[in-house]
């Protein structure tokens, strides 16, 4: 302030000019970035459209043909709906089970991996990069890759899907877990080691109580994602409701009431677990009623 009044108008002008120049430069950068982005979006979409079987504008009017067909057919056979829902309920349970087990297994593996790869907590500090890379690779594997390979070896069914999702979950949760563990207070750990606790005791009693709410919250979120993943994997042959959906789709017109029942089940399940997990996550993060 004193500087400006001392140098008078000149200082204000130069400050303003510098500011305006900076603003112009930033605007120019922003405009270039925006233009590049729009160019990428437009040409990208044209490329994708050219490499597809149908055009965008040709397909758009037909967008609601299939849902409308399914709805009318399901409505015409609405009396069969309860029976159909019941028929696919076991498959739905299988899909949920795949998601639940893979979340459990994946979270456990992720927990171990995260503690092994967090500075200050690791059992073997020199191996931290190894465990980190392991998690990166596990995370990078799309579930479908592992699932398809395992289906070839183990045959169809829930186990390949379960392993595939668990591997990815371990990598994904491991990364999130280790970010939380990095912020954990090390004093309880020091206290425990001063009374002679070994590594697993230090982790279980010193670190785990601090990070448990966050870990549980991440795990619940992952469970939500895994239900969707397990439905998709079913579609490529790994059992559960996705597999039934593919079969129902191949039956084609006349059997769309079956597909409709599966859509309803899938939708309700996803919404239900979505609400459930967000409710408990809110409770965990806000800490009320623990």
């Amino acid at each position: 302030m004193a500087d400006i009044s001392a140098t008078g108008n000149l200082g204000v002008h130069s400050t303003r000019d510098a500011y305006m120049a900076m603003t112009r430069r930033r605007r120019a950068y922003g405009a270039v970035l925006l233009a590049a982005f729009i160019f990428l979006m437009v040409t990208g979409f044209q490329t994708v459209e050219a490499r597809s079987a149908g055009g965008f504008w040709d397909g758009l009017p037909q967008l609601f043909d299939f849902p409308a067909g399914v709805v009318t057919e399901a409505w015409a056979k609405i009396d069969r709906m309860p029976a159909n829902l019941l028929r696919y309920f076991p498959a739905l349970i299988e899909t949920i089970n795949i998601a639940a087990v893979s979340t459990l297994v994946g979270a456990f593996l992720g927990l171990v991996l995260s503690l092994l790869s967090t500075r200050g907590l690791a059992r073997w500090p020199r191996l931290i990069p190894v465990f980190r890379r392991t998690m990166d690779i596990m995370r990078a594997f799309p579930e479908i890759v592992i699932a398809l390979v395992l289906i070839f070896i183990l045959g169809g069914g829930p186990i390949p899907a379960m392993i595939a999702i668990a591997v990815h979950t371990a990598g994904a949760l491991g990364k999130l877990f280790s970010e939380v563990a990095e912020n954990a207070d090390l004093k309880p750990v020091e206290g425990l080691s001063s009374v002679g606790a070994n590594w697993s005791q230090r982790m279980l009693l010193g670190v785990f109580p601090q990070v448990a709410p966050n870990y549980l919250s991440y795990t619940l979120m992952r469970f939500e994602i895994n239900i969707r993943a397990s439905a998709i994997l079913g579609f490529v042959g790994a059992g559960g409701i996705g597999y039934e959906l593919r079969n129902a789709m191949t039956f084609g017109t006349g059997k769309f009431d079956l597909a409709a029942a599966i859509f309803v089940l899938l939708f309700l399940t996803i919404v239900f677990f979505d609400q459930l997990s967000s409710h408990y996550r809110n409770r965990l993060v806000k800490g009320s009623g623990a």
Partner: protein
């Protein structure tokens, strides 16, 4: 924490609380264990040993790091044929053959290594010499395959009247009525760079760069590039395009969803919604779109738009519009009102208030979410591509369905994993930069 009443017996309450916590601490592992036992039975883990095809696993592992050379002799016209992986592009030209084969007219000696030797002799006779077993002779007699093996045949032989196959560690012999064929495994991906028809096959990298010109019409580097890029067996051009398509699907889907979700999120945020009813309606739309899930959107869209990457991009776009709408509106609800007031005090109109009062506050959060989704959608695009038929996911499923192209499956898996890891680090780097660098909001 449960509130402890100050007036009550604190000690008693604390003990009760600890008792309850102990019970929970014991019950949780028990419940988890019981659930796992239930899963163990319902997933039929015990039956896995029966269903598991370990021979499939062996083929897969062996195929993934090695290549097969097919050596065959036709039983009718005694034609000899040599090819790699049985592909046309891998067929040896007339008069040439791998150096572990000795050809004499229509007869030949195939050395499989480790003292395993297969001799193709006159009159469709084939003899297989091996160290731990007497020589096996196979011949076509009156239209049936006859061997000198006594019943029961060893477990590594699969014999019937029309077909005998002998599998050893060194290689496999398959004798049918039409031909006798030897498969020899060798290390590596032989034609990954160049097919046998290319003059650059089996020429070292330095010789291509610095050696004499191998093809008169093209310089070495141009020719090598053309032959590598046009490799008909590994289809590098198509694979490159498929990878690009997958990234493009994720890019269009993610950023398209963000563009659509941002204005809608204003309508759904408590502090910006013009009409309560509209806010409620938009929220329900977000919930619905998210609840329907990518799988169902993919199916619905592929009915309208046909197979291809566009369907995948649109499926990602629609699903993520729901997710973005929800998280964007939550971010908008948490903005600081003072900045908006400040902008308003200078006489800014509503649109300007949003642009200068709100957007700078939420940009870092929004961008970091978008980038995170972009990375995770690259992975989803692989799966969606496998369903709608676009991108690298399609290549992967196609290679898997043939059940003998495991070296390609391995190649695609490596490419996918590298692609995802690259997206992961790029998006992480961008996120750190944008969040740190974007302090002014312009």
């Amino acid at each position: 924490m449960t509130m402890l009443s100050v007036n009550g017996d604190l000690r008693q309450q604390t003990e009760a609380l600890f008792h309850r916590k102990k019970l929970v601490a014991l019950a949780v592992p028990v419940v988890v264990l019981a659930y796992l036992v239930y899963i163990f039975i319902s997933f039929d883990v015990m039956g896995l040993a029966d269903r598991a095809r370990m021979d499939n696993a062996r083929t897969l592992v062996a195929d993934s790091y090695s290549y097969k050379t097919h050596v065959s002799r036709d039983n009718r016209d005694n034609d000899l044929a040599f090819s790699i992986e049985g592909a046309r592009a891998g067929t040896y030209a007339d008069g040439t053959h791998p150096d572990w084969i000795e050809v004499q007219g229509t007869n030949m000696v195939v050395d499989l290594g480790d003292d395993h030797v297969i001799r193709f002799l006159d009159d469709t006779l084939v003899s297989f010499e091996m160290p731990d077993h007497p020589t096996i002779n196979l011949q076509l007699v009156d239209g049936a395959v006859v061997t000198n093996l006594s019943d029961p045949v060893p477990e590594w032989v699969n014999a019937s009247k029309t077909r005998v196959s002998i599998t050893t560690e060194a290689g496999r012999l398959s004798y049918t009525r039409s031909k006798a064929e030897v498969f020899r495994y060798s290390l590596g991906w032989e034609m990954f760079w160049f097919t046998l028809s290319s003059p650059y096959h089996d020429v070292s990298f330095w010789d291509v760069l610095t050696g004499p010109q191998l093809d008169e019409s093209r310089s070495n580097i141009v020719g090598a590039w053309q032959d590598f890029w046009g490799n008909t067996l590994w289809r590098h051009t198509d694979v490159f395009w498929a990878m690009w398509e997958t990234v493009l699907m994720a890019f269009l889907g993610t950023f398209g969803a963000a563009i659509i979700a941002l204005p809608l999120a204003f309508l759904a945020a408590r502090n910006f919604a013009p009409v309560i009813a509209l806010r409620f309606a938009v929220r329900r739309v977000f919930d619905f779109v998210r609840g329907v899930d990518g799988l169902i959107w993919t199916i619905v869209l592929s009915r309208a738009f046909g197979p291809g990457p566009m369907t995948g991009a649109l499926a990602i776009l629609i699903t993520d519009t729901g997710s973005f709408g929800k998280s964007f509106s939550e971010a908008l609800e948490n903005v600081d009102g003072k900045q908006i007031e400040g902008v308003q005090s200078t006489g800014a109109k509503p649109l300007q208030r949003y642009r200068f009062g709100v957007i700078p506050q939420v940009t870092p959060i929004l961008l970091s979410q978008i980038l995170y989704y972009f990375e995770s959608n690259t992975r989803s695009a692989t799966v969606i591509g496998a369903i709608t038929g676009g991108g690298i996911g399609l290549f992967l499923t196609q290679a898997m369905q043939t059940q003998n192209n495991w070296e390609k499956v391995t190649y695609y898996i490596i490419l996918i994993v590298l692609m995802v890891m690259m997206m992961d680090s790029v998006s992480g780097w961008l996120r750190r930069r944008l969040i740190k660098g974007d302090d002014s909001g312009h």
